[in-house]
Amino acid sequence: MGFLRCVLSEWPFLRIRLLRTRLGVWLVLLLGVVWRLERSAVARDPLAAVLLVASGGATLCVAYLAGARADRTALGLALLHPRFPAAVTIGRWLAATSGAAIVVLVAAIHASVGIALAGLVTAATMSAWTLALAWWGGNVLVGAWLIWLALAGGASPEAVLARPHPGAGRYAVAWALELLPALWRYRGLAFGEPGAAAHAAVLIAFGLTAARTRAARAGPGQP
């Protein structure tokens, strides 16, 4: 079977989950909340809104497309047929990214092309990272990541360390914000910063490699 055909065969996951689960409702709710927040903000920041939609949307899509225990168990069934684990991984990542891309494009409808692109790249990065979390730890890890995004996702390391005498906890959070996918860094994507693009590329490669490694280990009947 061709690698590309194997990638494309993962597409039904997005269609079916959008139409038959609450994923579609959650994505619309996410859009509504971010739109409301952006409207009520004193200084409007369309870039922050788009990045928030991208990261939240990507995480939700991965949770619904790959994170459930049944989905991880069924991965073993899929690999009983002549499929490449890498193609399954890329296909599921593209499907999740596409789901997030829909809401990103809706959120960025009045924004510049740069902001829309930043949103799309952020969605791709978050999808790859979250896919690795989902296949290694299920929706428990994905949920933890969503909470992390809600609590610290919008902060920058400088802001975390800005207070005098920061403790070990603050340093740990700052390091996490430095290393993991974070919205402060991907703001630079809208302005063509190479550092942000390089970070996104490395995180996508890392996430896909980690997810592929887990997929290759999936045996039938084993989540």
């Binding site: 055909r5 038959r20 168990t73 073993g76 899929a78 002549p82 045996g219 039938p220």
Partner: protein, 297 residues
């Protein structure tokens, strides 16, 4: 050694960390399966049946030995020629039966050919009327049918079924047996595992008995099932069984071997046992595998 499936000197050891000793799941297995043959792999729980099936399906690699499927080493990708149905049904949530099969079939074909494969698999497994139902919420019997259907996709001629009848009612067991027999009539080969061989007599061409990871019996079913047993119902249970007899709940029973039933009943009379009724029956596969297992100890 000839056959569609050839297994020679296969051994599989699972290494465990933290200084714990390795687990020998398959100590030694050598056998072959021919075209159009149904082979039942029988053994107690944790005897290595699932591991052996996973080795044949290419999901696991053997620690030692050679597995060849249709002349191709299982170390290469044999998923185009070997279908494997795991024991526990697990399907992607939200997918219908047809969508699960279409998803699996997309690895083998595309377009109309894929749709034709899906339709054939639905027919072969008896799922045509339930094609629109959600796969994740199917009852166990239909889940097993769907597992069988996906293992047939792509025109695969070797089918491995892990405990396909476990937990199923007699009607479904019979129906699935008939469908498997139809498959082997067209030249397919089936290897199915079962911890409970009851009812497999009408299906099995050959029986493999696995005991603690070692293949202790590889015999045609006719050879194992050829034995006759005399069942004797007594008015009063005996204190001890006469030579060659075993005490049962209703009386006695004995392997007849080459003896006649009359000569065995004469032994009962000689021991002054009041025989109320008697009958001669064939050994069940359950008894035959148990005897073989005991003999191998």
């Amino acid at each position: 050694m000839t056959g569609v499936v050839q297994v020679r000197g296969v051994r599989r050891v699972f290494r465990r960390g933290w200084g714990r000793p390795p687990v020998v799941a398959i100590a030694e297995a050598t056998f072959a399966i021919g075209a159009g043959e149904v082979v039942c792999l029988v053994g107690a729980a944790a005897s290595g049946k699932t591991t052996l099936l996973r080795l044949l399906a290419g999901v696991l690699a053997p620690t030692a030995g050679v597995i060849r499927i249709a002349g191709v080493s299982a170390a290469a990708d044999v998923r185009s020629s070997v279908g494997f149905a795991p024991r526990d049904p697990a399907f992607p949530p939200g997918f219908t039966v047809r969508e699960v099969l279409a998803y699996c079939a997309s690895a083998h074909a595309r377009g109309r050919e894929r749709d034709a494969q899906v339709t054939d698999a639905l027919d072969a497994a008896g799922l045509s009327e339930r094609a629109g139902r959600r796969a994740a919420s199917l009852p166990l019997a239909d889940g097993r049918r769907l597992l069988l259907a996906q293992s047939l996709l792509g025109g695969r001629r070797v089918v491995l079924l892990d405990e396909p009848f476990a937990g199923l009612d007699a009607v479904t067991r019979r129906d699935l047996s008939d469908r498997l027999q139809r498959l082997v009539v067209t030249g397919g080969s089936v290897l199915l595992s079962s911890a409970d061989p009851v009812g497999l007599e009408r299906l099995a061409d050959r029986v493999l008995v696995l005991r603690a990871g070692r293949l202790v019996v590889d015999a045609p079913a006719t050879e194992l099932l050829g034995g006759r047993i005399l069942e004797v119902v007594l008015d009063v249970p005996p204190r001890e069984a006469p030579p060659g007899f075993r005490v049962t709940a209703t009386g006695l029973e004995a392997d007849l071997g080459w003896r006649s039933a009359e000569s065995a009943l004469a032994v009962c009379r000689a021991h002054k046992l009041h025989v109320r009724a008697s009958r001669v029956r064939l050994k069940t596969l359950d008894e035959a595998t148990h005897d073989a297992d005991v003999a191998a100890r």
